[in-house]
Amino acid sequence: MTSLPDSTERKLGLVIDLDTCVGCHACVVSCKGWNTENYGAPLSDQTPYGADPSGTFLNRVHSYEVQPAQGAAQLVHFPKSCLHCDNAPCVTVCPTGASYKRQEDGIVLVNEDACIGCGLCAWACPYGAREMDAASKVMKKCTLCVDRIYNENLPEIDRVPACVRTCPSNARHFGDLADPDSDVSRLVVARGGMDLMPEQGTAPVNKYLPPRIKDRLDRIDDADVLEPFLDVVTDQPKGFLGWLDKALDKI
């Protein structure tokens, strides 16, 4: 049924820390690795070693440059996968009932046996979180590793999405965002977690933690540790430096 549930008991989702993500793409690789051999059709690649490689991914890492009005630009790595929206437009457009949002935990899934591959849900998603697999011709999207998080055959520590388990810089957190006392909810409050494209009205469950202002290059005056070294170019250099200065002038 592609009507959305009125509310879900839990809201499982991710909190992604843009401050600590180093853009290593490990989550992309572990996501592809886990999901190509577990739930549903494999994530195929087309001409992976050819001239024009292309393939299906459920998680991709963008990089943005942010230039403040003053000071140095900042580079922000930006992982993006399905945000398991509360008000998921991708679900309601689906003509077959293949796309659905689970009442019990809020995960948005595709029943691949019912998907006709019309692609409408990918049009409806503002985040580009759905990709039609070119080989199996069904819609693929992040499952929040539904086949890991409840999987009792895995050690408890592994019962989180593959991307979260893999991230070497702890930039990805998994939990129940409906529970105000959960670690992820507290993190969102403490760090001012935000929605992507709030104006689209999708009410995403996943939150992003904004990066802290990092660069101090513009605050050169504060760099007092380096000051003695920065002093070397004086008006009348002496000694070795004086000789070097003159020699360089002559060239």
Partner: protein, 290 residues
């Protein structure tokens, strides 16, 4: 958005077919026998060809029956239900007209209403997309309906109505373009809101997530066609609206009628191509594109 030929053909042809069915359903023209057969045949070929073309777009057409199940929430599902209902009801009505020279009026009107509803559902598939601001407007269903009714009137030989409705569709088309060119910036979705980084400074894409194109870029970020958009708009407007009106106004003969129909269809195909090729999906912002 990628202008898939199957969808362009589908929406243009079936729009015309259902438009013709509307006029046949309300008894304009109220022909019977062989003449009625030819009219209904044209309507069925257009609507049917469109529907068949649309299944070429599916990854798994063999499961298409499932698309009739979600009419409560999905416009695409409503379209499927509406199309089949319209074709079935009009089929019954056609039997009366062709074989019994009878006009079963309630059935005809029901079929006419279902035909229009089908066109409305088609247009709503696009008009509902918040992700494509150019489409998200009441002007989209208005344009689709006016085109279907106008083109249908042209095929049904209802000259006065064709003049009126194609003229109206032409005005709606201009309004739709005018609105569409402003829609993206009016929608307020920007790289700043997409990344949530706007409070720090100006955001620009530094590196895409991969070195080659992907499904999203191919399907949603089609920028190739926009270069000639303006010229194509003129072609679409002249062929789709202005020339057919001129042909009809000169002197009505069957040859003029045929020319008007051919010119109209060509123009609307061009306009439908632009409908997709010019439509910018907000996901392009994540790639620093529109």
């Amino acid at each position: 958005m990628y202008p898939a030929p199957s969808i362009i053909a589908f929406s243009t042809l079936s729009g015309l077919g259902f438009g013709l069915m509307f006029w046949l359903g309300i008894g304009m023209p109220g022909s019977t026998g062989l003449v009625a057969f030819v009219f209904f045949a044209i309507a069925y070929v257009l609507a049917g060809a469109g529907l068949i073309a649309s299944t070429f777009h599916l990854g798994h057409p063999e499961r298409a029956l499932l698309a009739f199940t979600q009419w409560r929430s999905s416009w695409l599902s409503r379209e499927a239900v509406g199309a089949v209902a319209a074709l079935a009801v009009m089929g019954l009505y056609a039997i009366g007209r062709v074989f019994f020279a009878a006009s079963w009026i309630p059935i005809g009107w029901l079929g006419a209403a279902l035909s229009l509803m089908t066109v409305l559902t088609t247009s709503m598939i696009y008009a509902q997309m918040k992700t494509v601001p150019r489409w998200r407007s009441p002007l989209t269903p208005a344009l689709y309906l006016a085109l279907s009714l106008g083109g249908g009137a042209l095929l049904a030989g209802q000259v006065t109505w064709a003049l009126l409705l194609i003229g109206m569709a032409g005005l709606l088309q201009l309004a739709w373009w005018w609105h569409g060119d402003r829609a993206f910036s009016d929608a307020g979705t920007t790289m700043a809101s997409a990344t949530g980084l706007g409070h720090i400074g100006r955001v620009s894409a530094f590196e895409p997530p991969h070195t080659g194109p992907n499904y999203l870029l191919r399907e949603m970020v089609y920028v190739v066609g926009r270069k000639h958009a303006f010229k194509l708009r003129i072609i679409a407007f002249v062929l789709g609206y202005a020339l057919p009106l001129a042909f009809l106004l000169v002197t009505f003969s069957h040859w003029m009628g045929l020319l008007a129909v051919l010119s109209h269809i060509t123009g609307i195909l061009a306009s439908r191509w632009l409908f997709f090729a010019e439509a910018e999906h907000v996901v392009g912002l994540y790639y620093g594109k529109r």
